[in-house]
């Protein structure tokens, strides 16, 4: 059912972010910050954007103030600090979905968009957007990684599922 799906996906999300950050940790500072003409320019800026997107949505879901002014804000200029914040955010997301029940998942959340107007969507739709948004930008980071000399790891959901099931098969 849908609850199991969002809980599994939150765990995949933590797993895949750890993989991607482990690869990014091997980059030189120059490669990490280089403007590669992605939508958010660099690996550094794209990873910051992902954290911002998640913070905005988790704040809306928790009905707290996200405090974010811009989608291209740099929350952490230092990779180590960004990595710690990413891990904390992923744990927070896991805790959030673990605390959900079916009724909350189906409920409609009203929120104020960055541009001002009010939006309203089911929580399940918001979570599916959040997870898809992460995969999209991780794909961008992956494409930027393969343009460096650091190997880009496979990030497929199936690899996570197989590792979790302990089958050890690619």
């Amino acid at each position: 059912m849908m609850l199991d799906h969002v809980r599994d996906f939150a765990r995949y999300n933590s797993w895949v972010n750890r993989r991607l950050y482990a690869a990014c940790a091997q980059l030189s500072d120059e490669d990490y910050r280089k403007d590669r003409k992605a939508f958010f320019h660099s690996i550094h800026n794209t990873l910051n954007h992902l954290l911002i997107g998640d913070r905005i949505w988790l704040a809306r879901l928790a009905k707290t103030d996200h405090g974010v002014k811009r989608l291209d804000e740099i929350l952490y200029d230092d990779f180590a600090a960004l990595r710690s914040a990413r891990e904390a955010e992923d744990e927070r997301l896991e805790r959030y979905v673990d605390g959900l029940d079916g009724a909350q998942l189906a409920s409609i959340l009203s929120y104020t968009t960055m541009a001002g107007p009010v939006g309203a969507l089911p929580v399940a739709t918001i979570l599916s957007h959040l997870f898809n948004h992460q995969t999209h930008h991780r794909g961008q980071v992956h494409a930027m990684l393969t343009q460096t000399n650091v190997p880009a790891p496979p990030l497929d959901l199936l690899y996570y599922a197989i590792e979790k099931a302990g089958q050890g098969r690619n």
């Binding site: 059912m1 849908m2 199991d4 799906h5 996906f9 590669r36 003409k37 992605a38 939508f39 939006g119 969507l121 399940a124 739709t125 599916s128 957007h129 898809n132 948004h133 995969t135 999209h136 930008h137 991780r138 794909g139 961008q140 992956h142 494409a143 930027m144 393969t146 343009q147 880009a152 990030l155 497929d156 959901l157 199936l158 599922a161 089958q167 098969r169 690619n170």
Partner: protein, 169 residues
């Protein structure tokens, strides 16, 4: 996992591929086929790879075998053919998810990897893998597009839900 989720993802997928392909159609041929050190090289090869993997999974789910030798196969040599094949594939994927029920989602699908190794996984895991895999590689194509000076419209699920022109699910 819910049937409704996959039906929405099926329609989102068709909608977002149309958006991405429309942006790719604006590229000069050189930019479209240029080797850019993405995992599958170019925009052309990455789009082919997505199609290849979708057909592999759909074949495994529906019990037929596409003639695919490698994940790097390029079944469509030119963009127009690839675009037509993509549209056909997306219609087939929407049809597949339209026919689902909750019981079937939990059933195990037996399949073989390209090297012949047998494997088995529940249908819902295979479908979420398929849709997530598409988004991953569309993200790669997005970088290669902006590197060519073309910024596609937003590819987010949120924009799909907000688009008045989208197909109702």
């Amino acid at each position: 996992m819910s049937v409704a989720l996959f039906q929405t993802l099926g329609h989102f997928n068709a909608w977002v591929n149309e958006r991405l392909y429309e942006s790719c159609s604006e590229l000069p041929k050189d930019d479209y086929t240029r080797e850019r050190k993405a995992f599958f090289g170019s925009i052309h090869k990455t789009l082919n790879h997505i199609l290849v993997v979708d057909q592999l999974w759909r074949g495994r789910i529906e019990g037929w075998k596409p003639s695919i030798k490698s994940l790097a196969d390029v079944p469509c040599e030119n963009f127009a053919d690839l675009r037509a094949a993509r549209e056909t594939e997306d219609v087939a994927l929407v049809k597949l998810v339209s026919g689902l029920d909750a019981g079937r989602l939990e059933t195990a699908v037996g399949y073989r990897f390209l090297d012949g190794t047998p494997a088995e996984a529940p249908l819902d895991l295979l479908l979420i893998t398929l849709f997530n895999h598409q988004t991953h590689h569309r993200g790669q194509v997005h970088v290669m597009l902006t590197q060519s000076g073309i910024t596609p419209p937003p590819l987010d699920i949120l924009d799909f839900h907000m688009d008045p022109a989208r197909q109702e699910t």
